[in-house]
Each structure stands twice: as C-alpha cells, then as structure tokens.
Amino acid sequence: MAEFASPFSIETPEGCEGWEEMYPPWALFDERRREHDENRLWFWNSMHFPVPMPAFDMVEVDTPYYALGGWQNRAFAVPAAAGVDYRVVNGYVYISSNPVTDPEKMAERARFFQQRAGYYFENWDELYGRWRERMEALNREVSEIPVPELPEYEPDAVVFEGGEPSWATLLASYRRALDCIERMWQYHFEFLLLGYGAYLTFSEFCKQALPDIPDQHISQMVAGIDVVLFRPDAELRRLARLAIDLGVADAFREGRSPDEIEAELGRSDAGRRWLEELEKVKDPWFNMGTGDGLYHYYGSWHDDPSIPYSSLIGHIAALQAGEDIERPTRELAERRDRLVREYEALLDEEARRTFRELLGLSRKVFPYVEEHKFYCDYWFQSRFFNKIREFGALLARHGFLEDGEDIFQLSRYEVMQALEELALTWSTGGEALGPHHWPQVARRRKELLKRLEGWTPPPALGRMPEAVVDPAIAMLWGVTPQQLQQWARAQRDGGGNELSGAAASPGEVEGPARVVRSLDEISEVRAGDILVCTSTSPAWAPIFSKIKATVTDIGGIMSHAAIVSREYGLPAVVGTGTATSRIKTGQRLRVDGTSGRVVILDG
C-alpha cells in the first residue's frame, strides 16, 4: 500500500512561523490525535481552496463541512460514508472522508437512507422548487441585514418606540450574517449528494454497458441546455442587440470603462432607455460570480462591472461584423438527442430500460447540480462578503482596522470580539484597546499569507485507503484509487517526464506551458499557451479563448476546467496532482486529453 508523507512531517516554510494563529485549533494536526490523523489519507482540496486561507475565510471551510457531514451522516445517513474532515497545513486545506465500514451499522443506516433519500428523489421537482424560493429569500435577507452607523445620539425611535439600541443591532446583525451563511451551506448540501449520486450511478452504468464511452458523452447526455448559469450571458447578448436597435452601440468602445460608457449613455434618451433595461437585468443576473465564491476577494458582476461590459463590447462588435452570437442551443440539443438515440440503440432491451430510467433521473437532478452554483456560490457569497465589508468599514472608521478590507484577516470569532469591544466603548465612551491590537494582527497575517503562497502543498498526505468510497470525492475531486497510486508513484520516483490524470476533454496538442498559481497571474497567459494550474473557476473564463489546452492538479471530469474545456473544444487533463510543481513555464508539453496523459517534451 502506497504511503505519502506524514502530515506531522511537514515543515513550516521560512518566515511563516506562527501561521497556526489564523485557524481554529481543531483544524490543525495536533500531536494529541496523531495516531488517528497519521493513518488516513488527506488530500489537498486545491479545487476549492487553491491558495492559503485568510482567517475570516475559514468560515467557508468550517461551515460547509458541518453542513456536508450533517446531511450525509446525520440526516440522510448515507450507508457507506459519514462526513468529510479537514485540517489546515501551512494555510492550505486538506480533507479526508470518514468511511462507514461496519456492515451492521451500514445496514442500520441503509434503512434511514432509503426512506429519506427516496422521499427526495420521488418529490424532487417540488422540493427543489421550494429550495429555490428559500434560497432567493435568503439571498435577499443577507443583503438587507442592517449595519448601524453608531451615531452620537440614538435616534428617537430607540427611545420613543421601543427600538433596538444600535450596539445591540450591531452585534445581532453580525450574528445574523453568520447565521445566514450557515443556512446557505445547509441549503447548498441538501440536494448535492443525492444529485451527484444519481449522476454517478448513470455514469457508472454507462461505463459498464459501454466501457469505451467517453466521460464527456455521458455528461453531454445529462447536462441541461437552458440552465440558469447561461442566463447572465444570454441577457448580455440581448442587451447587445438592444444597444444596436436603439442606435447607442457607439458608446461601447474597446478600452472604455463602465463609468465612461454609462456617462455617454446617460446623455441621450435612447441611452437612458438602455440603462433602464440594464437595471432590470442586474437583479438577479449580475449576481454572476467572478470566482468560485470561496474567498472573500471573489465578487460578482455588481462588484466588477468591467466583466459584463467587456462581454457587451465583444458581443456588439461581433453583431456589427455580422456574426451569430447566440449559443447554438438547437445544435446542442440535437447533439444531445443524437447521443442518447445512438447509445440506446446499442443496448439490449433490458439495459435500454435501465439506461433510460437512470438518464431520466439524472436529468431531473442535474438542474440543481448546475444551478446551485448561481444561487449559493455566486449570488449569496458575493452578498455575504459585501455585508461583512460593511462591518469592516465600520471597524475601520473607529480605528479598529487600518482598512475595511482587513476584516478578512480576522477570524469570525475575532471579528465578534472586535465588534463587542466597539459596542462597549461606543456605549461607554471609554478607551478601546482594539485600535492598538487588530491593525498589527492584520498586517502580520497579510505578510504570512503572502509567504505561504510560495509553498507548494503536496497533493496528498498520510496513508492510502483501501478504497475511495465517497462518490462526491471521486467525481468532484477526481480522487480515485488509480489517481492516488499515480500521485504516490510521482512522489516516489519523480514521475519522469510524464504525468497522467483524468481525460477530461479529448484532443492532442503541443505547446509551451504557462504555470498559473493564482488569479493575479492570469494576465501573463499568452495566446497559444498550455494553461497549467491547480484548478480553475469561472473567473478564469476569459483565458479559455486564448489557450491551447488545460492541465490541472486537482479536479474530476465534472470540474470547472473540464466543463469549460469541452465547451471550447480544448484538450484537458485534470487531476494530475503535481502539474504545477513539476512543470515550469516555458517547457514544451504534449497534452493528450483523450488518454489523460501529459508529456514534458524538453524536461
């Protein structure tokens, strides 16, 4: 059985001493549970957490894993898998799933699971309809949480109408913001497991019946054509046509900022009409994310309108050049139907019946799998972090922080402490300690994070498990027994000049590598480069039109990099484990997205 480095053997990079202060004690590898932690497999969740975690952003690690475990282990009682544990090493998040292996326990859990999961599958559409309503309400709730100004004198309403004192509102509002993110993660995982499970079952059935079927054909048969995630861009295309129809297309010139464009539009009736239409589109479609949502620095189109505006400029130019900018939905639907028809025809009658049923179920659950990203990861997250920014701005105004943005350098408990002291000293008029304390903390941690970014986390730590039992782990992270073996081999012998991963999008190309380790480095990507990265998120979308192929450290066939590569027709190999540490920018690579192999040609 292959072994990886012990999590207890990892050294702190120079100058990063004390990094542990940013994280809750239970999230660290601790000698007191060494025996337990050393004998299991931990792998770096670089798909969700590619860079070191700022202290506040740990809320995006803690809460999701409570919620995931809560549903998987305690609510649905998935027979073979409890929840997923995590630890932070040098700022990076490692995860490990807790299997259930006792047959009696599994049988006991199976009784719960069948009844409870069965209820969800049977009532899926209705339950999911209600879910959407709850999620939209939550998204509005988090936006509307009041962050009081802490005035010199309380307003009349507090005194004459029994209103809540400002200090109490402040603390309650912060607690409510945390309460909202807990609920969001609850909702997020309510359907996710069952959705992925149904999809995975269909996928496995296809592979048993038709061993050569490419993964992308399976996902194409299931994926929705008209899903929410495509709506924001569809709305932009509509606005592009409207700009031409209204005769205001000239305002959209390459190189102009959104403010400049809006200023020009504001000077004409037609332009103002266009702006009115834009306002209608913004809610909810400008809640589209610029990243995968799990760090505070990702926002939405509301926060960075240059993204939708640059799309608008592109769409308008394309329309004026007589190009068709619509998504080829009819062709996509035809291709999807053709795949289904042809694969069905290859099966005998009984297999065809099962195929159809599983496909039907997968298609029923898939809108959730695709759409939860919009409701949770983009819409909610951008609103939530903006709400936290309001608290940050308040703390900065009172000298507790040098800059409102520094609030993300404090853990959520520390923010509570800072706010409590602010509430206290605002109320008493006393001398606050916070302004002497928190700015230094924030400064130190920003420096730590910058240094930790230079460390390359190994893909896995600890000991190889008997089997990967958690369906979500295999599908989302691409962590399969084969993948682990390959990581172990690469660790042992350096892996030569070849890497392998999941064949995520077919085709073979050669070209120069561009290793990109964070969003900031994206601007360095040149046309014709092969993108080598830990993983990608929607924020990376603009570069897919430039690059020739994608290679990632982490990710399965349903990961963002895989999906976008297929849409762009670019070869992709995902989940190689070590691409960013073994490949150097400028090396020539051959990427075979059909077999999942990457060769360093001048290694």
Binding site: V78, L361, T594, S595
Partner: protein, 363 residues
C-alpha cells in the same frame, strides 16, 4: 440437369444475395450483399460450389479421395503429407470443366474492360459454405491468392483453392471425423485487387470487451496481409461509433509491407524504410470514412462485423477506400450479461451510496 442455369458456374458479385450462400459460399455472398447496399467493394465474380463438384466428378478425383481417406491414419504425418501431395497434384493438373473455363475467361475479360487494363490483378479466395463454422476453419477452406494476372492464372489459382481442401491438416481432420458428409462445398471469389497504400482490418465493436459503441481499427502499410497475418505491429485506433472521435490511438512500428511483385504476378514482402515505419498511416478523413462504413456494414448485417479494407494508392478520398471482405464477429462477449440488474433506477442509485438490496438487486 436440364436446367440451363445449372450449367452457369459463375455470377458477378453484385448479383449475389444472402440466399445464394449454399451455392456460392459465405465470402462471395457477403461481398455481393455489400455491393448491393452501396458499400465500395472492388468488382469481381463468384464461382459456384457446383463447379467444384463437377470438376471432381469429371476427373474421377472423388473416388481417389474416398480411398485415400479410408486408408489414412490421422496421426501419421508422413503418410498424410504423401496423400496430400498426390491429391493436390491431381487437382492442380486436372483440366477444368469445359464450360467453367470459358466462363472464367469471359468474366475476367469483363473485369479487364472495367479496369481498362488487359490483365488486371485479381485476388482469388476460397468461399466456403458455412465458412465461419469451426469445421470450415479446420478443413483449411481459407485460401487466398493475391495479385493473380491473366485468365490462365485465375484458373490455376482456382485449382489451388480447391486443392487446399487436401492439405495434410485438412485430411487429418477429415480422417478423424470419419469424413462424414462427403466433399465440402467450396466456392471461389475472384475480385479485382486494390493496390493498397494502406490496409487493415476493423471490428465494429471492441474486440476485447465487446463494447458495441466502438470501432477498432488496425492499419499498416501495403496490402492487408501484413495485418491479417500479424506480421507487423499495426497502428491501432479505437473510435467512437457514435461520434467518430478517436478514443484511443497507438502508432506501431510497421517494419514490413506486402506489395505487388513488379516482375510478374503475386506479392512480395518488402522492408518499410526506417523513416516511414513509425508514421501514422491513416489520416482523420480515412478514420471518419472507416467509422461510417463500419456503421453501414453492421447495420446491413445486423451483427458485429470483422471487416478487411484497403486504401488504393494514387487515388483521392473518398474514392480510394474499399472493403474487400466482411464476416461476422463470433468471439465478442455480450455486454449486457454483466450489467447490474435492478427493479428501478432509484434502487441502483441507492447502491451507489452503499445500500445493498434485500434480493435480486445489484451484485
């Protein structure tokens, strides 16, 4: 014997349908069916099994075979080889029935006119009845003579095909089986040769797993014999039958190739120059055309097919691709046997999460 058709020993391939199998053998009728359904197959003609029967009778060979087999010891290799030599010699030196020789000359001239060449090269292959049965294989009824030129050469190759029934191995098999049922019915297919720049075989399923969604292609330089006989490591492709995508590809070292012998008739093996050995011998358009043909051939016969194909030298696609043979795949495993059985999709999904059904469910 009054029926005039009974004296007609040959027929153009395109006139043959499945019903003619007992009279012309499997190879010829399969080619006829392919032609009739518009698959590009080189033209040719078929010789009926009756011609062979008449040949044996007219030359008194049938009795000699009977006598030899009765006296033969299936384990006496030397004895079998001697008998084989005698019988083959008799077959190869006896004259063809009068009508048959005339028909072969006539059919060959038809081909010559089509080819615009006086002595076009043809392939002469045995076409046994029940060809794909194990018995036919044992009986040695799988002979092929390539690049045969001239009507005289065709007649000689036909005799050699027939004579192949008396190889030592075939005789041993028949002596062991006590020669039940008399002489095997043996037809012959004569087909214009393709001067193949590249040739090979393809299966309309994955030959290992039986996956019906793939087409497996093996290809090498020159005539298809190098691939069929396993004398080179061919280029191997696995293509999606549904979309035509290349799912797997490995390029072999194709160190030799069969080419027509320029000095006379027949083919010879030549070394492939170093630089060309590792070069992929098929382009994307060839692969797409092969998948399309695989789909059509399979649809026509309704079963997985093992297809021999060739790409003619000096011609442009799509006109350069020819199918020279197709027969059913009998070895591939049926996929559905190992598939999970369940009462419903939900039950299968439950299995994914580790729920073991109480009865008859997922294994």
């Amino acid at each position: 014997m009054a029926n005039p058709a009974a004296t007609r020993h040959t027929v153009r391939l395109e006139e043959l349908g499945r019903a003619a199998e007992p009279r012309f053998g499997g190879k010829s009728t399969n080619l006829g069916e392919l032609l009739a359904s518009g698959i590009p197959v080189p033209p040719g003609f078929a010789i009926a099994t009756g011609a062979f029967r008449r040949f044996l009778e007219e030359n008194g060979i049938r009795e000699r075979v009977g006598r030899s087999l009765r006296s033969a010891d299936p384990d006496d290799v030397g004895g079998l080889r001697r008998i084989s030599g005698e019988l083959s010699g008799a077959v190869c030196s006896a004259s063809l029935p009068e009508g048959l020789a005339r028909e072969i000359i006539h059919r060959y001239r038809e081909l010559a006119e089509l080819a615009g060449e006086e002595n076009p090269p043809v392939a002469v292959r045995s076409s046994a009845v029940g060809e794909d049965s194990e018995q036919a294989t044992f009986a040695g009824q799988q002979k092929t003579y390539l690049w045969v030129r001239g009507a005289e050469g065709v007649c000689e190759a036909v005799r050699k095909c027939w004579a192949s029934l008396y190889s030592p191995e075939a005789l041993s098999y028949r002596a062991r089986m006590a020669a039940a049922g008399g002489e095997p019915a043996m037809g012959v297919a004569v087909q214009m040769m393709v001067d193949a720049e590249v040739a090979g075989v393809m299966f309309t399923c994955n030959p290992l797993s039986g996956d019906p969604s793939t087409v497996a292609v093996n290809a090498s330089w020159g005539l298809g014999e190098a691939v069929v006989a396993g004398e080179v490591t061919p280029d191997e492709y696995r293509l999606s039958k549904v979309t035509g995508e290349v799912l797997h590809r490995s390029i072999g070292r194709k160190h030799l190739e069969y080419r027509p012998d320029p000095s006379s008739a027949g083919v010879r093996v030549v070394e492939v120059e170093q630089a060309r050995q590792g070069v992929p011998c098929l382009e994307e358009e060839h692969l797409q055309a092969l998948v399309e043909i695989a789909r059509r051939v399979e649809r026509h016969f309704g079963t997985h097919q093992d297809i021999e194909w060739a790409i003619a030298r000096g011609r442009e696609m799509p006109g350069s691709l020819f199918i020279v043979q197709s027969r059913p795949v009998t070895t591939a495993r049926r996929r559905s046997e190992g598939l999970p059985k369940a009462r419903s999709a939900i039950e299968l999904v439950m299995g994914t999460f580790g729920v073991v059904p109480d009865n008859g469910g997922r294994s």
